[in-house]
Amino acid sequence: MADQKDAETIPITVEFSGGLEMLFANERKLSLSLPTKDKEGNHVNVAYLIDYLCEKEMKDPRRDLFVLDGSVRPGILVLINEADWELEGEDKYELQKGDNILFVSTLHGG
């Protein structure tokens, strides 16, 4: 039983908008299966996801266009199920099955 529990994963959808998709091989949408726990045994959260994306999914070497000082860089909005992550606990938000996490880079053109 314990083994089975450890093997469980959390299916989530990750989306990119506003040009961030270019850092991820032009994929606008990723379907991911994350482990339920991180190395310390804590429930995985958005901070874990950001790390995961940098390590496993990002194709572009320019990390600093996505993360800076341990979180997403300024000018990127993180949206958890269509709401600003500030409403949900920011990077401490614990991921649930079926969550949709959207990363949006602000645009400045006009």
Partner: protein, 299 residues
């Protein structure tokens, strides 16, 4: 002259009849449009369509801010300008087109780039502001000025095939009042690193993408105005949201719920460091705050 028993001219009933008969506008909404002055900062891909629809709708006064002149590379998306007016200031060129659409609207030219020392004096005469500019520095400056003067702000941007739209500082309550709408700094406390900022010149832009965002800015402004910008009896403002547009996504538009005012916002909180004095003294250097672009590394 004796006051007419009709609040609008016969010509106005004719011209605005199609919107007047709607309950969302009505006679009161039309009168509110008529006595409202709107400032459009940037007369490019966003400013052209938003100005056209606001002037068409019969806003009383429209101010236009832009320091650029019309170039041929603008014309695929900046539909108020024309081939014959290449080289003219964008403000002058737009005024020609807008005046021919609706000569009843008062147009006010501000044919210079917006700067921290001119912003307060220009904005103070307007009731609502549209940010149709194209750089992070101008976006912070415009938002700060709107917060300081208590003006609602309709902010949009576009690049390549994407667009974004927000109504900020709505309701436009004084800094420190948590019931006011969030400002640009609440949503983006820190500017993006300069190497992540891409202009339309570098990244490209599809005309109808920026056009759609500009027309939607006019729509949001009309919604705010007809509900009553400053009216205390108006209904609750809509919850703050961000509209995201991706022309090539299966679902082209998404609406995202935004946060309320940030308790420690540098502009709209009780602890604000953005003040009229700081703005006027030049101690707020927006260009330095946002850094400079190295186009080689740009995303």
């Amino acid at each position: 002259p004796p006051r007419s028993r009709w609040p609008l001219d016969k010509m106005e009933y004719k011209r605005y009849g199609r919107q007047l008969i709607m309950p969302e506008v009505g006679l009161q909404g039309q009168l509110r449009l008529k006595k409202t002055s709107v400032l459009i900062v940037g007369v490019g891909g966003l400013g052209c369509p938003s100005a056209a629809y606001l002037v068409g709708a019969g806003v009383g006064t429209v101010g236009l801010v832009d320091g650029d002149t019309v170039e041929e590379s603008n014309l695929h998306r900046q539909i108020l300008h024309s081939t014959a007016r290449v080289g003219m200031t964008k403000v002058e060129s737009a005024m020609v087109a807008l005046n021919s659409l609706n000569p009843n609207v008062k147009l006010v030219p501000h044919a210079a780039r917006l700067t921290p020392d001119t912003a307060l004096s220009i904005f103070k005469d307007y009731d609502i502001v549209l940010d149709c500019t194209d750089s992070p520095a101008s976006r912070y400056l415009i938002s700060d000025t709107c917060v300081l003067l208590g003006k609602p702000l309709v902010s949009a941007s576009a690049l390549r095939t994407d667009g974004q739209l927000m109504v900020l500082n709505n309701p436009p309550l004084p800094p420190g009042d948590a019931a006011g709408g969030p400002c640009y700094r609440c949503v983006f406390p820190k500017p993006p690193p300069p190497e992540s900022v891409v202009s339309c010149g570098d990244g490209g832009i599809l005309g109808p993408v920026v056009g759609t965002m500009g027309v939607l800015q006019a729509l949001e402004a009309i919604k705010v105005i007809t509900r009553g910008v400053h009216s205390s009896v108006r209904g609750p403002a809509e919850a703050p949201s961000l509209l995201i547009f991706s022309a090539y996504a299966t679902q082209m538009f998404r609406t995202i719920r935004l946060r309320t005012r940030k308790p420690k916002c540098a502009a709209c909180s009780a602890q604000a460091t953005v003040t009229p004095e700081a703005l006027n003294s030049g101690s707020l250097d927006y260009v330095q705050f946002c850094g400079t672009i190295n186009p080689v590394d740009a995303l």
